[in-house]
Each structure stands twice: as structure tokens, then as C-alpha cells.
């Protein structure tokens, strides 16, 4: 009994099938390739039976060695803990399964070095194409791929200097939709809270849409706030400063969260400041999350068609893999506004201008907290 060195698993080979069926390897290979018109009915039948009996499965590795068709797709994810990434992954995996491809997954954790290593690893397995969602900095190895016309589809973020296809959200439009919703609800002082803009096109796109929508209303104030979500308390500090700054405006304050990760930090920060929405501050977040309906009276969101983004990205990648050489293409999908309690305007229940009331309440919460620490 032949055995695989380590595992003890018998791997049935094409040669065994051929021998048992009394035919040549070529015929079996043809059978597998679906070239039935080049096989007599008798042979076809014989081969089919033998394959079934032996439980033979062709080795994709050997297959790929020759033709280069490994039916493997590599996916590089910036942060597997980001719900957006997972949701896109879900769609991508489904598409792979549909088209008979398998996904090799690498999480880079926003680390350049690991990104490089992962790229190398995927390359060493001869993946036919790459789905890429990662930090857009220092991407020399990627550019080489671009010059080699290697099939790559970018997710969510453009990369400067690379003409890869892209699938993602129409960020400008979505941000406009979001901003106009807040304005329509009577909010006048709006902060777009995002992670660092530098190098990340999707964030920049959202800012562009935000600024554009704000510019249509000269009576309102909008500003962009950058937060570092891995730095505990930073979001709260930034928000606090914003509220203080706007405390004299006499307007209604609202926050537009740039993505799901930021939403969480904002929700936590507001909670720690004892600020509620929409009573104290309006809130609208990019990315629909499972818990969006749960917090307070529900958080309004801009939902991204994440599953579709992943699915479409794979389909686009397959088109490239199959040799299409047309110019760079961007597929931008629309976001959908889900309106919940956090962004409805509170019908003037209070006379005091909201902005000042918020600042006051916030200071009180801070004082309480300080007292608590002192005690």
C-alpha cells in the first residue's frame, strides 16, 4: 500500500486511474478536461466509473504547475477585525466558490512588512490574481505587479501610481447623501470624524463629499476631525474639543462617523461623556453594523453593499485573469441611508441652544469622573 510520507493518506493519481481503467493518462486527462467528443463512449464510461470507484481527485498543484491555472486567488486584508473587511470577504469567498476558485487569505494588520511577506507568499503559490485591501503607503512591490500587468483588483482604496481596477463605494456621493441628511434634519455644526486621511483615498473621497455638501449651506459649519482609534481616549478628547469649540455657535451639533471602527469609538466616547443621541448630538455613521439598531434609539447609518463589493471584485478579477486588457476601471457602488433615531431632529423640546447645553453637560460628566478618580 502506497502511503504519503507523513499523513498516511493515499493520494490517487491520474496514472492509477489510467492503469485501472486500462487506458492512457491522456484519455483520463481529456475526460477531466471535458473533451468528451474526443473519447469513445466506452472509454468515457470506463474512466468515469474508475474515477468514482477510486475517489480520484486531480491535484490542482500539479495541474497548475503545467498550465499556470491554479484556480487560486489571493486576498490581502488590511485588518481582519474590521467588520467591513469581513463583510467584503464574505462576498468574495462566495464568488470564488461559485466560479470554482479558492481563496488564500492573508491579514496584514496594517503592517507594511507583513504586507510584503504576504505578497511574496501568495506569489509563491502562483495565485492567478489578487484582491487587495490595505494601507496605501509604500507599495513598491505592488507597483511591480502593476507593470507586469498582473491581475489585481483593489478594494475600497485607490493606490497612487497604480492603474489597477477598483471596486468600492461611491464615497463622494455617499458622503453627500449623509451630510445632506444631517443638514435636512436641522443640524448646523457637523464634524466628519475619520481616521488619518493621508494616503487613503476612500477617506479623502468621503471628506470631499462632505465638504461639497457643506459648502451648499453657508449658514452651517463643517469640519473634519482626525482620530487615532488605537489610541485610547483620543476620540473622546477630539470630540470634547470640538464641542467646546462649537459651544457658542447656538446651533445643533452632529457627528458623521467615517467608518465602522470610528463609529464604535465615537459611541464609546459619547457614552463616557454621558452624551446621548439625538438629544445631545446627532449621529450618522458609515457602515451598517449588527448593533446599529441597538444603541440608544438606534444609530443611523450609510450602509455599504459589502457583499456585492466583494462579489463584484472577484468577478472583475476573473475578467482580468481571462485576459481582458482594457484600461483601468472603477466600479463604484451606491450606499444606502438607513435612518434611525440618532439623526432625527429633536423637535425643539429645549429652548437652550443645543451646542452650549452639550458643552455644559460634557463638562459636568468630566467633573464627575474626575471626582470619582480622586475619591
Amino acid at each position: 500500500m502506497r502511503q504519503n510520507t507523513k499523513t498516511g493518506t493515499d493520494r490517487v493519481t491520474i496514472a492509477q486511474v489510467a492503469r485501472e481503467a486500462g487506458v492512457s493518462k491522456t484519455s483520463v486527462s481529456r475526460y477531466l478536461g471535458g473533451e468528451f467528443d474526443a473519447l469513445s463512449v466506452r472509454l468515457r464510461d470506463q474512466i468515469g466509473k474508475t474515477i468514482a470507484r477510486l475517489g480520484y481527485q486531480p491535484s490542482q498543484m500539479a495541474r497548475g504547475l503545467k498550465g499556470g491555472r491554479t484556480r487560486l486567488i489571493g486576498m490581502l486584508v488590511a485588518d481582519i477585525l474590521n467588520p467591513y473587511s469581513v463583510a467584503v470577504l464574505h462576498g468574495a469567498e462566495a464568488a470564488c466558490q461559485k466560479y470554482g476558485y479558492t481563496l488564500m487569505l492573508c491579514n496584514t494588520g496594517n503592517d507594511e512588512e507583513r504586507e510584503k511577506q504576504s505578497l511574496a507568499a501568495l506569489h509563491s503559490y502562483s495565485v492567478e490574481g489578487l484582491l487587495f485591501n490595505t494601507q496605501g503607503r509604500n507599495v513598491t512591490p505592488l507597483k511591480e505587479l502593476g507593470q507586469a500587468a498582473f491581475p489585481v483588483v483593489l478594494l475600497d482604496r485607490r493606490i497612487e501610481g497604480c492603474d489597477f481596477d477598483l471596486v468600492g463605494l461611491d464615497n463622494v456621493k455617499a458622503a453627500q447623501l449623509a451630510t445632506r441628511h444631517l443638514l435636512a434634519q436641522g443640524y448646523t455644526d457637523i464634524a466628519l470624524v475619520v481616521q488619518p486621511l493621508y494616503g487613503v483615498s476612500s477617506r479623502q473621497g468621503r471628506q470631499a463629499g462632505f465638504l461639497q455638501a457643506m459648502s451648499e449651506r453657508s449658514d452651517c459649519h463643517g469640519e473634519t476631525l482626525e482620530v487615532h482609534i488605537d489610541q485610547p481616549g483620543h476620540t473622546a478628547t477630539v470630540l470634547r474639543e470640538f464641542f467646546e469649540r462649537r459651544s457658542g455657535s447656538g446651533g445643533r451639533v452632529a457627528i458623521l462617523a467615517g467608518n465602522g471602527m470610528v463609529s464604535l469609538q465615537i459611541a464609546l466616547a459619547l457614552q463616557s461623556m454621558k452624551l446621548g443621541f439625538p438629544d445631545d448630538v446627532g449621529l450618522l455613521c458609515f457602515d451598517e453594523l449588527s448593533w446599529s439598531p441597538l444603541v440608544g434609539s438606534g444609530i443611523s447609518t450609510i450602509e455599504q453593499p459589502t457583499y456585492e463589493i466583494g462579489f463584484t471584485a472577484i468577478e472583475r478579477l476573473l475578467v482580468r485573469i481571462n485576459g481582458e486588457r482594457s484600461v483601468r476601471m472603477e466600479i463604484l457602488l451606491d450606499g444606502r441611508l438607513i435612518s434611525r433615531g440618532s439623526s432625527v431632529s429633536v423637535a425643539g423640546s429645549e429652548d437652550m441652544a443645543l451646542s452650549s447645553r452639550v458643552a455644559q453637560k460634557m463638562r459636568k460628566a468630566a467633573a464627575t469622573a474626575a471626582a470619582g478618580i480622586a475619591a
Copy 2:
């Protein structure tokens, strides 16, 4: 210029390196294998330089073809949308990266057919081992793997009739911890809410721990509630019935959610019934989620060491891959109680027995909703 058929990518081969360096393939191969003592210093240097210059990377496919060491690990996930799965995946991916393996990911979506197909796909790539987290029903193909002594590590759920290693939570102990916490907080009528128990060992383990802890207190009442979370409104219905049933007990009602998916449904159901925690009902959930601190006064949870579970599972798998043949092993990690507002006993602020107040409030909410629909 040699080109890969489709992509135009030049794949540097070991032969090219040998030619350019003016040595034989064997020498290059030895260099890669680290057999430096069998190489003259001059050759070694020459080869190293050539490899760097050409950017050569050995093909794992060709490598695996011969020795069977593909450095590939397959992971089958029951539901990629389940945060637990993703968290475990995170740890597993990290371990793979650490040990120079790459993960092939398949999502089965709790579907038997897709599970079989995925298994076949992974097999066709000669993965060296399998990480398995999926429904425990109809697993004939898996059992075959077991008989072939193919390296497999189970995540979270045991599978009857298979003696694979398992890494997961110590469910019995964790459920005891959870239940005792609720009892200690003064809750007397506790419902463990889980997805269907049949065939899923982890759920059964949690129930066992729950029942055991409840049995220590004859004055308290515990029951297990099965819910179908993909069936909208089912959770709410089941909870409603439970509350009605206990309305006469005069005790304090609490819910123990069996996992993160159930937690979400419960939170939504309670919200729809206008019931708050801990005022109306105590709540403790398996699985720490990003939003656990956010809802109401915070949801108490039993946190699983998910990252560690994934990481450990890969390590255990590698041990198996490297030939260890010892008997089946279970690695059970401990859960951690994170106590928040949802499970603290409300110091007798109300005289009316909680259980009846809950039922009353719930009926009122239902009536309001009905009126709303009628209008």
C-alpha cells in the same frame, strides 16, 4: 523574453538562477535548503547575489508536488458572519504567518453540500492539515479523513465518531461561571437561550454547565430555550412565552445568551418589547463583542479567548502534521467573566416582584405595537 501564458508575468525559475550564477540547479536547491556546509563559500555568495538580483522565489506548488509539503492549511468556517469565527480566524491566520504557512479559507455557510465541496477543493490543493469549525451533522467525508489519520483539528465543536483533536472553550466551566454569577446577583428565574442543541457539542456543554449550576439552588428555576435566529421574531416570541410563564413566580428573571449571534437577537427582542436590563431583566451573554459595553448600561459577557483558540489550534495542527500520533487531545481554554450593568442586581428599587412587572410591561408594549399596526 519568456512570458507566462496569460499574465505576462515572468516567473523566475531555479534553472534561470543556476544558469545566471553559473552553477547547477542542485547547488541552488541546497542553498535554499540551508545546506551551506555542502557549498563552497564562493558559490554560496554567487548564488545569494543572483537570487537577490533576479528576485527569485521558489514555487511552493512545484515544491509541494514532490515532497507533499505544501505549507498550506485549509480552514473550514461554518459562518464567516459569526464574529466568533472571525475572531478565531484572526488567531489562526497569525499563527500561520508565524510558522510560514498559508491559509486557504472556505466558508460553508452551514451548508452540508458546500462543506463537502470545500473539503474536496482543499484536498485537491494538498493542504497539509485542516482546521474545522462547522455543523456536526452528516460528516461522512470527515470520518474518512479520520480513518486516514489526516491531520485535523476541530474548533469549538466535537464531532461524534471522529477522534480529532479539539481546541475550544471549556463550555461546562464557563457556563457554570456565568450561571453562578447570575444567581449570586439575585436572579432566580434564568433562561439559557441557545440555538438548536442537536449535534452541537459546545451548546450541549454550555447547557450541561448551566443545569449543573442551577441544580445547586433548589429555590431557583432554570430552563433552556431554543431559538432559530434566522427566523425573524422567533427569539422575541420565545422570550415572551418565557416571561409569561414566569410571571407568577415572584422572582427575578435573567437571560443567559448562548453565543454572540443569540445575544444580538435577544437584545433586539428585548428592545422591541421595550424591556430594559437590568431593570426589567438580567442579561449575560457568551462572547464579548465590540458593542457589549454600549447597549444600555453595558452587557455582561463571558469572553472567550478567541485569538488564542485560533492560534493554539494551528499550533496543535502543526504538531500533528509533523507526525505526532498520540491519542486524541482536547485543549479547553477558560472563559472570563466581564461584569457590566446588565447583570447587576437592582437593589430592590421596586417592591413589585420583577417577574410580574416584566410580563405586564411586555404586554403593554405588545398592545401598543398592535395598535400601531392597526392604525
